[in-house]
């Protein structure tokens, strides 16, 4: 067997890889008690705590969405006044964006997987990692406090001067978001350093799983752009308390400048949401097509390209805001270029499926749903980027449909795919394949029924953030509302069978899918320190042309002082 080795010519211990490892001692039961969770520095446990938090907030945001949809069932006032409606869509947007989708894949799946995929024992700064979770929680508390005091009604964009004038608890809310920003920054920093410094021997840049390239690109955006959000919100708070007049036209400020500040963060933020999803999809498609990923470098580099180009296009949210025509044209021009690297990814994934051995398990089903829905979301983004058309579509339901297609149809679908894919690794239990597929189909139908009509009414002129509307739009709104209920049913099913699997599920083997990345070369659930040795890579992350029986992991010699506790390691001397 030709195990390539980094320890030039020396003998290397090799560990053969056993598919059926199911240790009795692992990270979930290494320590017990609430404190062992809340104060853990284990990246896997922190990942799970994030997972629980974002599931909670997705539920909150989702229920609010159903309330919105119910109000919109008829043009008249059904459940609530305009004031209440305004608060609810603001909180729905803010919760979904800041508390759910931004931490979703990076902080939950990323934390859990990144060190394992690298062959490291933890992230570079485990304590900062814990701090980041706590900061997130504190930020979330501020947000909840603002709900208790006087729920904010500005829209998730906090545009001045409305956000300066309204009586709602803008300061508490923005303070919460400000604080959560630091949690995002810390996660990003941690990931960049970990990827740079903690790769296992043999893990060259070219062998990194694409999920890690995606996380790397995401982290760069997080570190780059989030501080600008922080200063923006800090200035907004100052605007409300001291009336500094930088953004408030009543005091000599400029509201369009606020929009530049806000979107300078929030546009790149949409790539914080979607690029990790791309990473998940790369893993899913390669594994379930059992085929070497097509165009590894193209996919890896396109993540970085999206991150960089994506930082130059924020003004496409401001085409009719009164910014100069010159910048409108420049922003429109730049906007389209994000489509090129994104398209490259999509086509590469399709090419990976070509001649593969495709197993349509639930995660793969989600990956296919992702491809379909995200393409719709993406091309409607191109539509919105065309200036003359944007004038018609801006701030209508067309935009609402666009961003739900990319965020819900893109990120959330990839997240669900990833969640099912790594569920056995995280919990050591298999989920129910049958119900998994049923709910995926229900969600697919419900989703399209909810948001396709929004494209139509949007282009016909239905403005967003309207709690009542003219009768012409009623049919489309009703379809949309019904769709959202179906969507809700789909999620209830998921919640039920995942909970069931946690307690009653079948035991999962260590590598149920036959994947080739390092996270699957450890037991399910993984040991406390991921690997009970320092692994050395002998194979690439997508070596699907070799049978899995050939897979070995080397054990580094400078694995100084780590006890090889736990289950005995099958070892064999091998000449490298």
């Amino acid at each position: 067997m030709s195990a390539s080795s980094t320890t030039n010519g020396k003998t290397l211990k090799v560990r053969y890889f056993d598919i059926e490892e199911n240790p009795t001692e692992h990270y979930l039961n290494a320590e017990t008690g609430l404190k062992s969770w809340l104060f853990t520095v284990d990246h896997k446990r922190i990942g799970l705590m994030y997972l629980a938090s974002i599931a909670l907030f997705f539920f909150v945001g989702g229920v609010l969405a159903l309330v919105l949809r119910t109000e919109l069932f008829t043009p008249a006032e059904n459940l609530m006044t305009a004031e209440t409606y305004n608060r609810i869509f603001t909180i729905h947007g803010a919760v979904m964006v800041f508390l759910f989708i931004i931490p979703s894949i990076p902080a939950a799946l990323g934390n859990f997987l990144l060190p394992m995929m690298l062959g490291a024992k933890d992230v570079a700064f485990p304590r900062l990692n814990l701090a980041s979770f706590w900061i997130y929680s504190i930020g979330a508390l501020f947000t909840l406090a603002s709900l208790a005091v006087n729920p904010i009604d500005t829209g998730w964009t906090f545009y001045t001067p409305y956000s300066v004038q309204t009586g709602s608890a803008v300061i508490l809310m923005t303070l919460g978001v400000f604080i959560m920003g630091f949690s995002s920054i810390l996660t990003g920093m941690n990931f960049i350093v970990t990827i740079h410094k903690m790769r296992a021997p043999g893990m060259t840049w070219g062998r990194m799983p694409l999920f890690l390239w995606a996380m790397y690109a995401t982290s760069i955006i997080q570190v780059l752009a989030t501080p600008v959000l922080a200063i923006t919100l800090a200035l907004l708070i100052m605007e409300r308390t001291l009336g500094i007049g930088i953004f408030d036209p009543a005091l000599g400020g400029d509201p369009v400048l606020y929009q530049h500040f806000f979107w300078f963060y929030s546009h790149p933020a949409v790539y914080i949401m979607i690029v990790p999803a791309f990473g998940v999809i790369s893993e899913l498609i390669a594994t379930f097509s059992r085929k070497t990923i097509f165009g590894y470098w193209a996919i890896a580099m396109s993540s970085l390209a999206i991150a960089f180009i994506g930082s130059l296009v924020w003004g496409h949210h401001m085409f009719v805001s009164g910014q100069s025509e010159l910048s409108t044209v420049v922003f429109s021009f730049l906007t389209f270029f994000v489509g090129i690297p994104t398209g490259i990814k999509i086509f590469n994934w399709l090419a990976t499926m070509h001649k593969g051995s495709i197993d349509m398990k639930t995660p793969m089903l989600y990956a296919c749903i992702f491809l379909f829905l995200f393409t719709i979301g993406g091309v409607t983004g191109i539509m919105l980027g065309a200036i003359s058309v944007n004038v018609q579509l801006h701030d209508t339901y067309y935009v609402v449909a666009h961003f739900h297609y990319v965020m819900m149809g893109g990120t959330v679908m990839a997240f669900l795919g990833g969640l099912h894919y790594w569920w056995p690794k995280m919990t050591g239990k298999m989920y129910n394949e049958f119900w998994g597929k049923i709910s995926a189909v229900i969600i697919f139908i419900g989703f399209n029924l909810t948001f396709l009509p929004q494209f139509i009414m949007g282009s016909q002129g239905m403005p967003r953030r309207y709690y009542s509307y003219i009768e012409q739009f009623q049919t489309m709104h009703q379809l949309s509302t019904i769709g959202s209920y179906i969507l809700g049913v789909g999620f209830v099913i998921i919640a039920v069978y995942l909970a069931h699997s946690m307690f009653r599920g079948q035991k999962a083997p260590s590598n149920p899918w036959g994947a080739r990345t390092l996270d699957w070369m450890t037991s399910s659930p993984p040991a406390h320190h991921n690997f009970n040795y320092q692994p050395v890579l002998n194979n690439g992350a997508y070596d699907f042309h070799k049978p899995i029986a050939d897979f070995t992991l080397g054990i580094a010699e400078d694995d100084h002082g780590h006890e090889h506790k736990g289950e005995p390691v099958k070892q064999q001397e091998q000449n490298a």
């Binding site: 740079h196 530049h260 130059l312 910014q323 025509e325 010159l326 910048s327 420049v330 922003f331």
Partner: protein, 100 residues
Amino acid sequence: MSAHHIIPMKTLISTTVALVVLTIVTVAVFYLPIPAPFDVVVAILLASFKATLVGMFFMGLYYDEKFNTVVLIFSFLFFLVFVGITLLDTMFRDTGISVW
């Protein structure tokens, strides 16, 4: 290893002296009659030079892994993007589209 380079005393002292001298030059230049946009340019150039000195010798970038310098330069570039593109709006609001 390079990361633990002990910066020579002489380097530290001469960097400090250079910085103080440059501060004096900055103030002196302020009293020179330099025409409008160039006074800012000179001031920024001097400040950038001082910042480079601090970065290279006090912060040890000169001796350090080059990637750290890349990070720093990148952050300045990114800042320039922010300013540059925003100015495309704020400076050209009154010129209608037909002008160009």
